[in-house]
Symmetry: C2
Subunit: 200 residues, 2 copies
């Protein structure tokens, strides 16, 4: 079986990366990386599906044993990305998607330089503003701050391998699937296959 | 307008790269690099379509002025690849395909390191042998020599960016189109677009 790929999907808030990920994982080739957390499960949340639920002691043990790709505290709870789940899934031939904020993505590049880094961007800042306003969850000054942040984050595009402009969702999904397919055709993955052709 | 890509398509004799190229250029996004030659035009051959027809003096002038990517003599005539045609086509947004033998491809890598190198391989040596026998133009000992040569050439796969196994033609074409699409999504091509998003 071929090893799967690690795919880091990142982009500014409002780029639509969340929607893209939800659509991608409808295809069973893809698997979304599952986070570990110390917060209590909410109704309907299942262990190993939505999160790996841990006690504080367990979580801190994972930190000590470097079992997490990255972690952070939020509202008094730990959240983190367990490496094991990613490594096991990739070994089983799945392409694992890590949906991560821009800052976190830059961290992961140091640990997984072999991962494919895809930067999802909005077609324009006007469109980004419309999307943020459309959410109707934020006040105008928060939206202003998010737009300013998005500009800063967009300037980091060159740290990624690929850029996908999320204008039409269908096209963006197509492009990402094409990137993944093409990455698997890279000659570095062909040692075994070519040797089979030569020696069989 | 976006600049086109230079695509070097190579592979052992019998890999089917010729058929792939003929199918690819049915899509007007692709343009096949046109060779220059000193041989006389055959019936139906048009200047600038099949070849650029040159006198010996003109051809040797091109050699002196380094206007050729590579050249060789065959049956007393010169054959070569003019750089100008490639450069101009790429500037006009076309993806230019260079169909080249394995040895020539390795030479071109030194001149066009930015080109995309795709290695077309047969699914197996048995299949390669069937294809060579199927052509019915060669004697058994010539076929033996070609198979031996193919093995040597296959071992050079790691000098290429991508490997496409030409088992089913439709799939191979699909994979090559996917590679080209994906290459255009590389972040290095996005400087201008991202700046447009940030500053407009």
């Amino acid at each position: 079986m071929n090893t799967g790929l690690k795919i880091v999907l990142s982009g500014p808030s409002g780029s639509g990366k969340g929607t893209i990920v939800r659509e991608l994982i409808k295809d069973e080739q893809f698997l979304l990386s599952i986070s570990a957390t110390t917060r209590a499960p909410r109704q309907g949340e299942e262990e190993g599906v939505h999160y790996f639920f841990k006690t504080r002691e367990e979580f801190e043990g994972m930190i000590e044993k470097s079992e997490l790709l990255e972690y952070a505290q939020f509202c008094g709870n730990y959240y983190g990305t367990p490496k094991d789940f990613i490594e096991d899934s990739v070994k089983n031939g799945k392409d694992v998607i890590l949906e991560i904020e821009v800052e976190g993505a830059m961290q992961i590049k140091k640990i997984y330089p072999e991962a494919i880094f895809i930067f999802v961007v909005p077609p324009s800042l006007t469109e980004l503003e419309n999307r943020l306003v459309g959410r109707a969850t934020e006040k105008p000054d928060v939206i202003e701050a998010r737009l300013a942040r998005a500009k800063e984050e967009l300037a980091l595009y060159h740290h990624y391998d690929y850029v996908v402009v999320n204008d039409r969702l269908v096209e963006a999904l197509d492009e990402i699937k094409c990137i993944v397919r093409s990455e698997k055709l890279k000659s570095s993955h062909y040692k075994e296959k070519i040797e089979n052709v030569i020696y069989n």
